[in-house]
Symmetry: C2
Subunit: 377 residues, 2 copies
């Protein structure tokens, strides 16, 4: 991930220091003791870390003097300046304008997240708060709504929580009800206590008995199956049924398959958009574009869909989000669910200038707890 080779002293042009310090020479100079190189390297990373941390706190470009003072780097501002020049050369930091301090670039944040940031464990109080807040949930909907609000509150950012996906669960029960002549309501109940409903129009009214028959047939054929299998089973149902039910079953099967296959991961909860205004100045893009993007289900799915592995927190920074409107934001996401099988994803969207350690551990903790909560069913 981090290009280690060819970095130290790379970048020709304005050589950094010393008259004998010709770029070409140093780049290929393997004479330098490895130890020295590493020490150098390490301090530079330390400088980068200090820059990121200070910038996250203060939201101001950070200069060499302040850095040397606030952090125990053991060197003078001048040395720090040299390191900063090197870091800038390599694209980890940049300055908004000449004679201003430095701020991290996307690449800088990336390095910080990958190698420099520790994980800040949550305090006991925080853990307890999460537990208290979530355990009052009365049903699946409530769990999701509470989680998303909790996450927004903990991180003070925009939170996104995907409803548990149906992929790995099984059909628990299918209910068929005629809600008006010629109109059936079909309710699909799954393992994960998730309920899907759809209205189906059929050619002509049917009597209560037929409805019961349909119910029986469907449950016998699909009950207990994994959803993907159930879709297949539903596809061949009409062919196997007696002629009396054929037309109705065709209509039902069509809708069921849609529900089972296509609309699996559609629903998503969002909270904390107000937090965007707090960091509005960080966004080079307009706040409007970001809000618009966040209203698109597709975009949200894209953001947290790829981070489905429970236990592993993924961070996407800037353009890594692959969403143009979010190119000045960062996304911290993870999956939740029991064991390896993910039920869904959750995460937060915020400015790149973000407290990554804190955010990451908050996301992890909430996902973990929600996973347990749903897994216990």
């Amino acid at each position: 991930m981090i290009p280690r080779s060819g970095r130290h002293g790379s970048g020709g042009g304005q050589g950094r220091r010393g008259p004998a310090d010709l770029a070409g020479y140093v780049v290929s100079g393997p004479v330098v003791a490895e130890g020295v190189r590493d020490v150098l390297e390490e301090r530079r990373l330390e400088v980068l870390r200090a820059i990121v941390e200070d910038f996250v706190i203060g939201n101001e470009p950070v200069g060499s003097k302040a850095l040397a003072e606030r952090h125990a780097l053991g060197v003078s501002p001048a040395t720090v300046r040299n390191d900063m020049a090197a870091l800038e050369e390599d694209g980890y930091i940049t300055q908004p304008h000449t004679s201003a301090g430095r701020i991290p670039t996307d690449k800088g944040y990336r390095l910080f997240v990958d190698r420099l940031s520790g994980v800040r464990p949550l305090s006991r109080a925080e853990r307890r708060a999460i537990q208290n807040f979530l355990e009052g949930a009365v049903d699946l909907d409530d769990v999701v709504r509470r989680s998303v609000r909790l996450l927004a509150q903990l991180t003070r950012q925009v939170a996104v929580v995907q409803y548990p996906s149906l992929t790995t669960s099984r059909v628990r029960h299918i209910e068929v009800v005629q809600i008006s002549p010629g109109r059936l309501l079909i309710v699909l109940i799954t393992d994960a206590a998730r309920v899907e409903q759809r209205v189906v129009d059929i050619a002509e009214p049917i009597d209560e008995e037929t409805v019961a028959e349909l119910r029986t047939v469907l449950n016998r054929a699909l009950g207990g199956r994994r959803l993907a299998d159930a879709a297949e089973a539903a596809a061949i149902l009409p062919d196997e049924a007696g002629p009396g039910l054929r037309t109705q079953l065709t209509a039902l099967a069509t809708v069921l398959i849609e529900t089972l296959v296509e609309r699996q991961e559609e629903r998503i909860a969002l909270a904390g958009t107000a937090n965007l205004t707090r960091s509005a100045l960080d966004f080079s893009d307009s706040l409007r574009a970001i809000l618009e993007a966040l209203e698109e289900q597709v975009v949200l799915l894209k953001l947290i869909g790829w981070a489905r592995e429970p236990g592993t927190v993924t961070v996407r920074i800037g353009r890594e989000t692959d969403v143009d409107a979010l190119r000045s934001t960062a996304v911290v996401a993870t999956g939740y669910g029991r064991g390896a099988a993910a039920l869904g994803g959750m995460g937060v969207v915020g400015p790149m200038r973000m407290d990554y350690p804190g955010t990451m551990s908050a996301v992890w903790a909430v996902a973990n707890y929600v996973g347990e909560l749903l897994g216990a069913d």
Copy 2:
């Protein structure tokens, strides 16, 4: 609504014109022909309307000269100035600072909405667009989601749609499923094709047969009843049942009553928050406060809950919203549903500087169409 008496020439202090024009005299001067007075009055209202319209379009304080030019008032800027002075005296308009144009006050908007704004009927194309967009909906959830997005798009404002309330509908069917030992999922299906689900913990696992029995009992007792009645019926159920089912029924009834009575109108959909940024400058309050308020279900209910009468569009301006964070916004809302029985409310939230005629007709049209759509079930 408009204080007609004592206005003309009222407000002591700096008399408007003429040395003989003493305030006390004119105020009580009933000699003035009614006709003349009305003409005056009328032109003043016309001026107010012109101010509102121009300000809505241009978002700049509007001055006497521009007004006289753009609108066929038939009088000179000087006369308009006099009218403006009177309007300001009465609190309908105000100026941000001396030597700037005028902008409407809350009171001014209120008068405009009450008496000056016509209803702009939607174009045929708009009607068709609404229809096309909504008729693709596959279920209740989809209807609501589409409506709210449509409304946001049409009005270019924040849209709010309440899910159909359960109040007037009946219990269609109740489904009970054991999702894990000792845990029941209870699904309530209503007339309006709305589905509510809740998880119930019971003391100990029960077998499939008992579940079926519970289902039968519940449906026999509650099926077909109005929700309010059903709650009552559920309350006495445990007493009537045999001892075998007593404990389970008690648990189920408790949860059912909660669902039937307390959580009736909880869900609300929101869209178009991005539109807030467009008018961010209009809000004297911070955008943040508004976004925060809009994330509170309670607040949203308050906003559209009081406008439940289908066919009548209600407008709340500024402090009339009764929500402090929204004191610089306006809310246009109405109810939807078949006939007099409202299923829910919907509306939009935007800046007071809003195209009221257009917004009102859009809200009306969408509510109307959604009402038909759901009424046809």
